[in-house]
């Protein structure tokens, strides 16, 4: 009389995901049900189309960038079988960035040293929304493209250009006309990233 969706998820997998992401057992099974319901092709992986089927995400101006964050560059076999598909582990890994930061967090067995939902990793997630070519720098061009996604046709090229220039001017400290990750972090140091980039998962 077991549950159907989570019977495809083995206990060992749940334990591994628990260690890597910090989600609880029940949270993992609930998110697996969600993953399963999004997976229309029932092949254990989500494609970009599966995400696009969520109407509220499809109308989000940065929807495509967010979906892209689930599909890391190159094929890390643990998370994707093909470049355009993400499996449950990859799905959970990305969602883990949005777990709230708790003071009594005990994530000692993580190999990377820092938990996925640390302030730095949350900022890095946001940084990658802007960094289109993943070269660890936000160039003027990239910033313009993302701005264009957010405003649509409502602002002229010149105005958008001056907004981009001003933003880079403010953040750029080493004069290379690009925003590096450390410059990005510095500009946003007063923003409550822990709260603004966290989602309260129930039980």
């Amino acid at each position: 009389m077991g549950s159907r969706a989570s019977s495809l998820l083995r206990e060992e997998d749940i334990e591994e995901i628990k260690k890597e992401t910090g989600f609880s057992h029940s949270q993992i099974t609930r998110l697996y049900s969600r993953f399963h319901s999004l997976d229309k092709g029932e092949n254990g992986a989500l494609s970009r189309e599966d995400f696009q089927r969520i109407p509220e995400l499809a109308i989000n101006p940065l929807g495509d960038r967010i979906i892209n964050a689930f599909f890391p560059e190159g094929t890390n076999k643990k998370y994707t079988a093909r470049e355009d598909q993400v499996n449950f582990r990859g799905f959970m890994r990305t969602l883990a960035h949005f777990r709230p930061v708790e003071d009594n967090e005990k994530n000692k067995d993580l190999t990377s040293g820092e938990p996925l939902n640390s302030r730095t990793n949350k900022l890095h997630f946001a940084f990658q929304l802007y960094d289109l070519d993943r070269d660890d720098k936000i160039s003027r061009d990239e910033l313009l493209q993302v701005l264009r996604m957010m405003v649509g046709v409502n602002i002229s090229d010149e105005q958008l250009g001056s907004i981009a220039d001003r933003t880079i001017q403010e953040a750029d400290t080493n004069g290379d006309m690009c925003i590096s990750f450390s410059e990005f972090t510095k500009v946003l140091e007063k923003v409550d990233v822990e709260q603004k980039m966290s989602i309260r998962f129930l039980h």
Partner: protein, 449 residues
């Protein structure tokens, strides 16, 4: 061998007479012998007992059953403006002439991830998750094996549902539908008169009552004084084809729909012989003016029955009401809104047409415990002066949602199959743009309007 056939024949006769005597005849006269009520009472007690056992079995989390139906995440709602302003409060001030900050993306990012985990729309196209198990295999999503006694009750349930109730229900359904076809054809032979209308109503109601018994349906009607009258349009939220049976048990309606072939076609053709329904050819349905014209003609004739329309256009899972298509609200006439709410504990009435075809759906219905639902007749509404059809449709939708305890959504039920329109994304972009260049806009519009 002969003896075996004789015995089988006698048993069959006994079976039929029981069915006719105890179920059909009372149904025809609108009486109830109370079997269904007793059945429901026993069922409620059994399910309560089962719930307690499951809770006891999950000792470490005694409050789990009530929480699991509340969603995966806690969303804090706030408009785009509010949220982005909050974000910017801690950011160093910008120069005038543009109000963009790098942290604006945080808002869209968080919203996007929240929607990936849980969104308002896609969950409406699958069956509702139950707070506690109702001893049907099909709803056993999150409940693991608990105890031997529970398994025995479950096994007993399977036996009762498949071996006793199912044959009974199929017999009733067959009788009900054949009665409809034969009865309406016979009535159709009569010349138009009051007697004919009265007989037609009787035939229709009897058939629907028999079909309701075939589903072990217990229906509670509220506010019967607001029942739809002739020349009006009855509008209701749509969960399944069974909605028609539910509503037609308490009144006669003119159905609206597409002409089908096969068995449905036979039923449609015979129904229209005894009283006018509105059946459209497939090609006609695309022409909105032709459709509106026919409906207008129908309601103009005060002797014809009220039309029954489901403006959502598709089946939704009874947790929410989705966008009402404005077509029915442009015709004029009085709208009689009706809210239908099923109790999912006894059987899930939602037809997931992507997953199940009509036959497997009917089979699932007939092997559920029962169909229990509430029907509220709401006060009639008409379009006010200067109100456009969309606004009127939304007004009716809110009234129905509020009465039925359903979530009022403005998303289109058609999103079940289609992609969302680009214009919604453009709206979001426009809203955000006005936040960035808001200052400029204000300066520009200072002056005589």
């Amino acid at each position: 061998m002969e003896a075996a056939w004789d015995i089988a024949f006698v048993l069959f006769q006994v079976w039929l007479s029981i069915v006719v005597g105890l179920i059909m005849l009372p149904a025809m006269f609108g009486m109830s012998l109370g079997f269904t009520d007793i059945y429901i009472k026993v069922l409620v007690k059994t399910l309560e007992w089962a719930t307690l056992r499951i809770q006891r079995g999950q000792n470490e989390q005694p409050t789990l059953p009530s929480q699991s139906a509340n969603g995966i995440i806690e969303k804090d709602d706030g408009s785009m403006e509010e949220k982005i302003r909050q974000l910017r409060r801690s950011h160093p001030d910008n120069l005038a002439g543009g109000d963009f900050t790098l942290c604006d993306a945080f808002y869209f990012c968080k919203k996007g991830i929240e929607n990936i985990v849980e969104d308002q729309v896609t969950q409406r196209f699958t069956s509702e998750e139950l707070a506690s198990w109702n001893l049907l295999t099909r709803t056993n999503n999150n409940f693991r094996y608990i105890s031997v006694r529970l398994t025995i009750i479950w096994g007993l349930g399977v036996f009762i549902r498949y071996c006793i109730l199912l044959p009974l229900r199929i017999t009733l359904a067959v009788i009900g539908l054949s009665w409809l076809v034969i009865g309406t054809t016979l009535v159709g032979l009569l010349p138009s008169s009051n007697v004919k209308n009265w007989l037609s109503d009787l035939v229709h109601i009897t058939c629907y009552r028999i079909c309701a018994r075939a589903l072990s349906a217990t229906i509670r009607y509220h506010n019967k004084e607001n029942r739809p009258k002739k020349g009006g349009i009855c509008v209701a939220n749509h969960t399944s084809p069974i909605d028609i049976v539910i509503l037609a048990n308490d009144g006669c309606y003119a159905m609206v729909g597409q002409v089908h072939g096969g068995l449905m076609g036979v039923i449609q053709r015979s129904m229209v012989r005894s009283c006018p329904h509105v059946w459209f050819e497939r090609a006609e349905m695309k022409d909105r003016h032709a459709v509106a014209k026919r409906l207008k003609e129908h309601i103009a004739d005060k002797t014809k029955l009220p039309i029954l329309i489901f403006p959502e256009g598709t089946c939704i899972n009874n947790t929410s009401v989705m966008m009402f298509k404005k077509g029915s609200f442009e015709i004029g006439g009085t709208i009689y809104p009706v809210a239908i709410k099923y109790d999912p504990q006894f059987g899930d009435a939602f037809w997931n047409s992507a997953k199940y075809n009509m036959v497997s759906y009917i089979l699932r219905m007939m092997t559920s415990w029962a169909i229990v639902c509430n029907v509220w007749y709401l006060a009639p509404m008409t379009r006010q002066d200067g109100e456009d059809a969309v606004h009127f449709a939304n007004r009716v939708k809110s009234a129905i949602a509020q009465q039925g305890g359903l979530v009022d959504l403005s998303w289109d039920g058609g999103l079940k199959r289609e992609r969302v329109k680009e214009s919604f994304k453009e709206e979001q972009q426009k809203m955000y743009s006005s936040m960035i260049v808001g200052l400029d806009c204000h300066e520009a519009s200072v002056g005589p309007e």
